[in-house]
Amino acid sequence: MSVETTTVSVPEGRPALLLAEYETPGACMKAAEKLRDAGFTKFDTHTPFPVHGMDAAMGMGDSKLGWIVLVMGITGLMTGIALITYTNGIDYPIIVGGKPAISIPAYVPVCFELTILLSAFGAVFGMFGLNQLPRHHHPVFESDRFKAATDDKFFVSVEYADPKFDADRTPELIASTHPNHIEIIEDTES
């Protein structure tokens, strides 16, 4: 079975991405499973809505974000303890309401808030980092057909930079998953 293949060119560009368009989420997921089983790691799926089971089909492990949040949260906790100990206990000890200068209950609100604050920073900026955001351009947006990814079509993109990528065999592998269409997208950097 041959699949229509077109190339989206940019000036001074070279092939960077193989973009396959599918009609159904099921076909898209099967393609992802095939790429996963062939050992690909630098590929992505683009769907108009979340597709259950796609993470497993793509062979994605659990997100590292939780660990980033944990480290940031503990940092916030330690910062709170250090801040209160220094300001209330060492730099300017003062008795308020008959409580000792270093008084554990008084630590709690500050430590709590700083833990939350830094955890939230860790979650937001960690997510940005893991997703390589902010990013102003991605070669996938060179494709006109790709606009349907927010409407009624399902896409798989494979990067030429993937160690498993082979200019001859990878398009064949993709073609065997019955996409509507395949596009080779060029980019000036990769």
Partner: protein, 466 residues
């Protein structure tokens, strides 16, 4: 039910499993417990009253929590929780039985509530006043300095009522006490108390039976209007349940120490009910999955979400509990500090307080923080944390009720006798728990363990978190 269908796992009925007979075991344990409690009542009515109130609250909070949980699902039109909602409905459906279980408390109100016979709990005053100052003893010399300075404004205010006289600390305590009690007399009166109790139980009975009937009727009729009806009543019912729960714990728990007040007390008990029912849901779902009675209806995804809610509500519980402590600790006003004076003075109850801090918050927090413990390893860690939280729920209720027993007998919180576990505590726990769980498990033996007629049932089985 024919024999052919009872062996079919997709039938979701308990017929032919151990679950079908669980209510008989619970009823037997309950009867033994109540017999023991009855003997205890004959021997020492006051001690019985406190043991019984403790046991009553352990299970009442679970049942109220179940009702909150069910209402929450209807409020939010939740699809994910449909398969675990029925378990909560079983624990909700036995809420009316607490009207009967309340009768031994009615008979012993004079033992429990110091204000009941016009004695405005003055027995607290000597205990509290005599040891005033020790509460901050661990603070060191600076803390004591602050304490000495603190009562000065109180002297000033109350000195005005007895012009020309210098009052002793005890007299001040007493006059302040009488003033607080006089301002509460309209609320803490026998007639109003009785009217309120009747309102609570009527409302709870209506709510539990109505929501349970809507759900179980749907098993056979598949009528969508039943879901619509539950959802339509949910907003008003949530307000009603929040108000009745708040005032019920004001009446039956906070007024054990009638001169004390905490406006956050109702919220604190609400958070307790949610932690209790979510622990129960995790444990019962775990057992149902292990025994196969729930088939494939309760999945890793449901455990993950129950675990997230349990974690969230336990953090909420800690936040509210600390808020109550923190404001009282900072303000250090005698009529507010009396509650923590009984529980945070250097004495046996402080050990219990610290155990609650670590085993109800710190350890479960660490256990439930990770996504992995809620999804992987067969949820063993999640089930362990739920078991720990349920155990600590019992300890927390004990910690809420029993220090008042020592206080009413004039036993100072720094003496070892302030914490004196009694066999009646266990007898009442088994008695009340047995009766309540017999009612819960009886319902369980009569209906499918998941709401098979719910329009979202199929979606709930296939639900995924990602």
């Amino acid at each position: 039910m024919s024999a052919a269908t009872t062996t079919d796992k997709t039938d979701y009925r308990t017929v032919g499993t151990g679950w079908a007979n669980a209510w008989k075991i619970a009823a037997g344990v309950g009867a033994l417990g109540l017999a023991g409690a009855g003997a205890g009542f004959a021997a020492d009515a006051q001690r019985f009253s406190f043991s019984y109130l403790f046991a009553f609250f352990v299970f009442l909070t679970i049942s109220i929590g179940a009702t909150f949980f069910v209402l929450l699902q209807h409020l939010t039109n939740a699809g994910w929780s449909v398969t675990v909602r029925r378990t909560a409905e079983f624990f909700m459906s036995a809420l009316p039985i607490f009207a009967l279980l309340f009768l031994p408390i009615v008979a012993n109100l004079d033992h429990l509530l110091p204000w009941w016979n016009g004695d405005h709990g003055a027995t607290h005053a000597p205990a509290a006043a005599g040891e005033h100052g020790d509460a901050h003893a661990p603070a060191g010399t600076e803390g004591q300095h602050g304490d000495a300075a603190h009562p000065a404004p109180a002297h000033g205010e109350h000195g005005q009522h007895v012009a020309g006289h210098r009052m002793s600390d005890e007299q001040i305590e007493h006059s302040l006490h009488a003033e607080v009690m006089a301002s509460k007399a309209w609320y803490l009166s026998k007639g109003f108390f009785a009217v309120r109790a009747v309102i609570y139980f009527l409302f709870w009975t209506f709510l539990a039976l109505k929501l349970f009937r809507n759900s179980t009727l749907q098993d056979s009729t598949r009528d969508l209007k039943l879901t619509a009806n539950s959802q339509a009543m949910a907003p008003a019912a949530t307000f009603g349940l929040a108000l009745t729960t708040t005032f019920a714990v004001f009446d039956w728990m906070m007024s054990l120490l009638p001169n004390w007040y905490s406006t956050i007390f109702g919220v604190q008990l609400f958070s307790t009910t949610m932690v209790a029912i979510l622990s129960v849901l995790v444990l019962v779902s775990y057992a149902m999955r292990a025994s196969g009675v729930s088939g494939n209806a309760i999945t890793t995804e449901h455990f993950h979400d129950l675990g997230k809610l349990l974690f969230g509500f336990n953090v909420f519980w800690a936040y509210i509990s600390f808020s109550q402590f923190f404001l009282i600790w900072y303000a250090s006003i005698p009529e507010e500090t009396v509650f923590f004076h009984l529980r945070w003075s250097n004495g046996p109850w402080k050990t219990v307080s610290l155990a609650i801090l670590f085993l109800h918050f710190v350890v479960p927090f660490a256990l439930l923080l990770s996504r992995n413990t809620k999804r992987y390893g067969g949820q063993k860690v999640l089930a362990f944390a739920a078991g720990l939280l349920l155990t600590m729920h019992v300890v927390e209720m004990y910690w809420e009720v029993l220090p008042n027993y020592a206080a009413q007998r004039g036993i100072g919180p720094q003496t070892a006798e302030a914490l004196a576990p009694h066999w009646m505590d266990l007898a009442c726990l088994l008695g009340v728990g047995g009766v309540y769980l017999a009612a819960v498990f009886y319902r369980m033996s009569q209906h499918p363990v998941v709401p098979v007629g719910d329009p979202r049932f199929g979606r709930s089985k296939r639900f995924e978190n990602t």
